[in-house]
C-alpha cells in the first residue's frame, strides 16, 4: 500500500528535479540548439507534473503545442540561421547583474513564503467542492465553452490578429 502511494511522489520529485535542472541548462548551455532542447526537456517534465496532478489533457496539450509546435519552429529557425556557439566572455560583475540577482533572491523568498503558507493551509482546503471530473477533457471543454467562452473568443481574435500581422510583415519586402 505504501509503495502504491510512494511511486507518484517519487516520480513527482524526479519530474520537478528534471524541470528545474533543464531550466538552468537552457540558460547555461552555449549552443543555441542545446538550449532549445533543454527547453523541450523542461516542457516535457512539466507535462509529467501535470500528469501526476491528474491533468491528462493539459499534459498532452503541453507536449503537442509547446514541445511539438513552438519549440520545433524555434529549432527550425536556429538551424536555418546557423547560429554559432556563443563565445565565452571574460566574466565581470556588472551593475545590472547585481540588481538582477537581488530581484531573483527577493522573488524566490516571496515564492517560498507564499508556497509554505499554502502548504500549511493544506488541511483547511475544501476537497469536497472539487468535482470528481476535475481536469478531464469533458470538464475543461464544458468550462471553456460555457463559463469562459468570452475570454476564449477574445484570445482567438488576438491570435488571428497576430497571424494577419505576421503575414503583412512578411509580404512587405516583396513590393520593393
Amino acid at each position: 500500500m505504501l509503495a502504491e502511494l510512494m511511486i507518484p511522489v517519487i516520480i513527482f520529485f524526479m519530474a520537478v528535479f528534471f524541470a528545474m535542472g533543464s531550466g538552468v541548462m537552457v540558460v547555461c548551455s552555449k549552443n543555441p540548439v542545446h538550449s532549445a532542447l533543454w527547453m523541450v526537456s523542461t516542457l516535457f517534465s512539466t507535462a509529467i507534473i501535470y500528469l501526476i496532478l491528474q491533468f491528462d489533457f493539459i499534459a498532452a496539450i503541453q507536449v503537442i503545442v509547446y514541445a511539438g509546435a513552438i519549440m520545433m519552429l524555434i529549432v527550425y529557425v536556429i538551424m536555418l540561421t546557423s547560429v554559432d556557439e556563443e563565445v565565452r566572455r571574460k566574466y565581470r560583475l556588472r551593475l545590472y547583474q547585481i540588481v538582477g540577482l537581488a530581484f531573483i533572491v527577493i522573488i524566490f523568498v516571496e515564492l517560498v513564503k507564499t508556497g509554505s503558507s499554502h502548504l500549511t493551509g493544506w488541511e483547511g482546503l475544501d476537497w469536497k467542492h472539487i468535482p470528481e471530473t476535475f481536469g478531464s477533457v469533458k470538464y475543461i471543454a464544458h468550462q471553456l465553452f460555457s463559463k469562459y467562452v468570452f475570454p476564449f473568443e477574445v484570445v482567438s481574435v488576438l491570435l488571428l490578429a497576430a497571424i494577419a500581422g505576421s503575414v503583412v510583415l512578411a509580404k512587405k519586402d516583396k513590393k520593393d
Partner: protein, 328 residues
C-alpha cells in the same frame, strides 16, 4: 501481496507486448522486402533460412558488428540522442492501442491494452510531435548539407500534415464521443467508422503515410536527390535504430488506423488480438503495395497538396460531421 501480483502481471504483460512489437518490427522488414520482390517479379531474400525467414536476425547481427562512425564536426550528444528519441517515440505509441478485450488471469480482469488513458488520441499526437525531433536533430547534428536539407524537409512535412491528420481524427472523435481508443473501439462494435467516415479514412491513410515518411511522401530520405537525407551520416546500430523506428511507425500507423476506422479488435469467431493483427497487417500490406506503385512527389507538390487540398477537405469533413451530429 496483491499489489506485488499486480505489478508482476503488469511487468510480464509489458514485456510480452514489447517483445512482440519488436518481432513484428523485425519481420516487417522481411515482409516488405518479400512483397517488393513479388511486385517487381523477383524472389526477394532467399538465402538465410527458409525463404529468407532468418534475414532480419542476420541483418541485426550485421549492424551490431559494423563500425560506428561519428562525423568529426558532428554535435556528438545530439547525434547519439536523435536515433534513441526516434525509436522510443515510435515504440511508445503501442501503449495506448487496445488489441483485445478483457482477459481473466489470476483472479484479475486484465484489459489487453497497456495504458487505457482518457486522452489516447492526444497522446499519439504528443509522441508524434516528440518523434519528429529525432529526424530533425539527426539531420542537424550530422553536420552535413544533405542531412540538414532532409531534416528541414522532414519537419516541414510533419508540421504540414499533422494538421489535416488531427482534423480528420477529430471527426472520428466526434462520431465516437470519446478521446480514448478503447472507447472508440467500443463505439464501433456495431458499425465500423470506415462506413460512417469514408472520407476521413482516406484522408487518414494519406496523412498517415506523410507522418511516417513513406512513399510518395518520403521527402526526408530521398535517395536520388539527398543521398538518403537525414540519416546519411549514421552507421551501425544508430542507423538501425532509425530504420527500426521507421518500420515501427509502419506498424503503429496501421494499428492506429485499424483502431480508429476498422473496428479495432472486434470481429467474429477469432479472438481479439488475432483480428487486430489481421487488420493491421492487411493495412501494412496496402502501404507496401502502394510504395511499389507510386513514384515520389516533389517537395513543393507535397506542400501544395497538404495545405491547399488536404487541409480544406479535412476541415469540410469536420464541419459536415459536426452539422450532421448536431441535427441528428
Amino acid at each position: 501481496m496483491d499489489f506485488l501480483i499486480d505489478i508482476a502481471i503488469t511487468v510480464v504483460f509489458n514485456l510480452i507486448v514489447f517483445v512482440g512489437l519488436l518481432l513484428i518490427v523485425a519481420y516487417s522488414t522481411w515482409f516488405e522486402r518479400k512483397l517488393l520482390g513479388d511486385f517487381q517479379l523477383r524472389l526477394g531474400p532467399m538465402r538465410v533460412g527458409f525463404h529468407g525467414l532468418m534475414q532480419p536476425i542476420a541483418d541485426a547481427i550485421k549492424s551490431f558488428f559494423k563500425e560506428d562512425v561519428i562525423p568529426k564536426n558532428a554535435d556528438t550528444v545530439v547525434f547519439i540522442l536523435a536515433p534513441m528519441l526516434s525509436f522510443v517515440c515510435a515504440l511508445g505509441v503501442i501503449a495506448v492501442i487496445p488489441f483485445g478485450g478483457t482477459v481473466h488471469i489470476f483472479g484479475r480482469d486484465v484489459k489487453l491494452i497497456l495504458a487505457d488513458i482518457d486522452v489516447s488520441v492526444l497522446y499519439i499526437f504528443a509522441l508524434a510531435a516528440l518523434g519528429s525531433y529525432g529526424c530533425v536533430l539527426g539531420g542537424y547534428a550530422s553536420y552535413n548539407k544533405y542531412s540538414l536539407v532532409g531534416a528541414l524537409r522532414a519537419s516541414a512535412l510533419m508540421i504540414s500534415y499533422e494538421l489535416p491528420f488531427a482534423l480528420t481524427i477529430i471527426a472520428v472523435v466526434l462520431v465516437s464521443g470519446t478521446l480514448s481508443f478503447s472507447g472508440i473501439v467500443d463505439a464501433q462494435a456495431g458499425l465500423w467508422n470506415i462506413v460512417k467516415q469514408p472520407v476521413a479514412f482516406i484522408l487518414a491513410i494519406i496523412c498517415g503515410l506523410a507522418e511516417i515518411n513513406r512513399t510518395p511522401f518520403d521527402m526526408p530520405e530521398t535517395e536520388s536527390e539527398l543521398a538518403c537525407g537525414f540519416n546519411v551520416e549514421y552507421s551501425s546500430m544508430k542507423f538501425s535504430m532509425f530504420f527500426m523506428a521507421e518500420y515501427c511507425h509502419l506498424f503503429t500507423i496501421s494499428a492506429i488506423i485499424t483502431t480508429l476506422f476498422l473496428g479495432g479488435w472486434h470481429g467474429p469467431f477469432l479472438p481479439g488480438p488475432i483480428w487486430f493483427l489481421i487488420k493491421s497487417i492487411a493495412l501494412m500490406y496496402f502501404f507496401i503495395w502502394e510504395r511499389s506503385t507510386y513514384p515520389r512527389l516533389r517537395i513543393d507538390q507535397i506542400m501544395r497538396f497538404g495545405w491547399k487540398f488536404l487541409l480544406p477537405v479535412s476541415l469540410a469533413n469536420l464541419v459536415v460531421t459536426a452539422i450532421v451530429m448536431t441535427i441528428f
